[in-house]
């Protein structure tokens, strides 16, 4: 996916270190989605995806940073969110993106479900950490 981090407005960021920070991150994304004028369904999908990815970051990456910004592209407006952690990384991304596969005791739908909830989804992972970037476009 395109590198929206470099193009859009300066992002609002938030560090996630515990589960109440995940709630704060969700609120940050919701506020931005409302301001961008995303429809209620799109807002809900984006916020749910952010919730999944934020919690993944907390559980598997030991916390990290969430950055969110409004982005424009070819006349449409959307919300870009980035989740960056310094955890051990994901060994097999394909496997992690399989429905029902879980490394913990969750449902195994967080990562794969989040990908289905947004319009653009990018993931990079290595031994130094994992970065997930998502975009949800309005209309």
């Amino acid at each position: 996916m395109r590198d929206y981090a470099a193009t859009g407005a300066p992002p609002e960021s938030l560090s996630v270190g515990n589960s109440s920070d995940v709630v704060m991150a969700r609120q940050l994304v919701r506020t931005l989605a409302q301001r961008t004028g995303l429809s209620l369904v799109h807002q809900t999908k984006l916020v749910t995806a952010a919730s999944e990815l934020g919690r993944n970051m907390l559980i598997h990456g030991g916390g990290g940073i969430v950055r969110a910004a409004t982005v424009d592209d070819a006349g449409r407006t959307g919300v870009y969110v980035e989740f960056e952690d310094r955890g051990p990384g994901i060994a097999d991304i394909e496997l992690a993106l399989t429905d029902g596969w879980t490394s913990g005791d969750g449902m195994g739908l967080g990562l794969s479900g989040a990908r289905r909830l947004v319009d653009e989804f990018g993931i990079e992972s290595g031994p130094d950490g994992t970065t997930v970037r998502i975009v949800k476009w309005g209309r």
Partner: protein, 284 residues
């Protein structure tokens, strides 16, 4: 920390004893000014008077170590003072100033000569230490208040209500984490037993985000209720939530879900009536 010689402490104790009323009065005035009348002068005077006596006794019997045994009384008074201030909503600065103000009061009358200045500096070190102690106690009290509020909130936000004969409802508001799920589950199961109910309705109208964690917690709660023989329905599924759940790929299996609480209640009441009917027929 250099140990105070007896003569130093003695002079300090003499000065503090001789001008007790003046110092306590000035101290109370200085602190009262900073607090802008939010604490009555009488109360402040009594509080600081006690503290002054305790400090004096500590100095007389055991030197200048604020964490030492001689200052036990001072410490317990200060901790009480900080707790009260924290509860009454004063800031940490205002609380610590109650101690530091004594330095301002004593400075002019002690620093007249070189020896006095040295004594003053030693006393200042003691008061700094006591000031830190109040700040610590203040923070501890605030933490206690916050954690007790969090617990209260947890209790408050998870009511289980009897909606009809044999039907209980759980209106959920906010986020559903593990701690709340536990509270909800316990309350629901207990209410099912206490009210002899066979139907439970969990309403998620007030839950803004239903992600996999929330769904998993909901399913566990439903499963537990079912193990006790109750029928469990999830109501309050709004259109955007339904679409999100489908896109996420969560399956609620055979757990009945319904859009509105009123429809869920109507359904449950009908089933309860049906069961009662069956029971009567069985007897005949």
């Amino acid at each position: 920390m250099p140990v105070a010689t007896d003569s130093n402490t003695q002079r300090l104790v003499e000065t503090l004893t001789a001008r007790r009323d003046v110092f306590v009065g000035q101290w109370a005035d200085t602190v009262g000014e900073a607090l802008q009348g939010r604490l009555s002068a009488a109360e402040l005077g009594r509080e600081l008077g006690e503290l002054y006596e305790a400090v004096l006794q500590g100095l007389a019997s055991g030197g200048l170590s604020g964490r030492g045994e001689a200052f036990g009384e001072v410490r317990s008074l200060l901790i009480e003072l900080s707790r009260n201030r924290a509860r009454q909503g004063f800031t940490p600065t205002e609380t610590a100033r109650s101690v530091f103000a004594l330095k301002e009061v004593l400075e002019p009358s002690l620093t007249g000569d070189a020896e006095g200045a040295r004594v003053y500096l030693q006393l200042a070190r003691l008061l700094d230490d006591l000031g830190l102690l109040t700040a610590e106690a203040y923070v501890r009290t605030r933490e206690e208040i916050i954690s007790s509020q969090a617990e209260q909130l947890l209790e408050l936000s998870t009511p289980v209500v009897k909606l009809w004969d044999g039907v209980v409802g759980v209106p959920l508001v906010g986020t559903l984490d593990s701690a709340r799920t536990q509270v909800v589950m316990e309350k629901l199961l207990q209410t099912l037993v206490d009210s002899d109910s066979t139907h439970a309705i969990i309403d998620i109208t007030g839950v803004p985000t239903v992600d996999t964690q929330v769904a998993q917690h909901l399913l566990k709660t439903v499963l537990a209720a079912r193990m006790m023989g109750a029928q469990c329905t999830i109501s309050g599924i709004r259109p955007q939530i339904a679409q999100t759940i489908v896109a996420l790929g969560i399956e609620f299996g055979d757990v009945p879900t319904i859009a509105s609480l009123s429809d869920a209640l109507r359904q449950a009441v009908k089933e309860v009536a049906q069961e009662a009917d069956d029971d009567v027929r069985g007897l005949l």
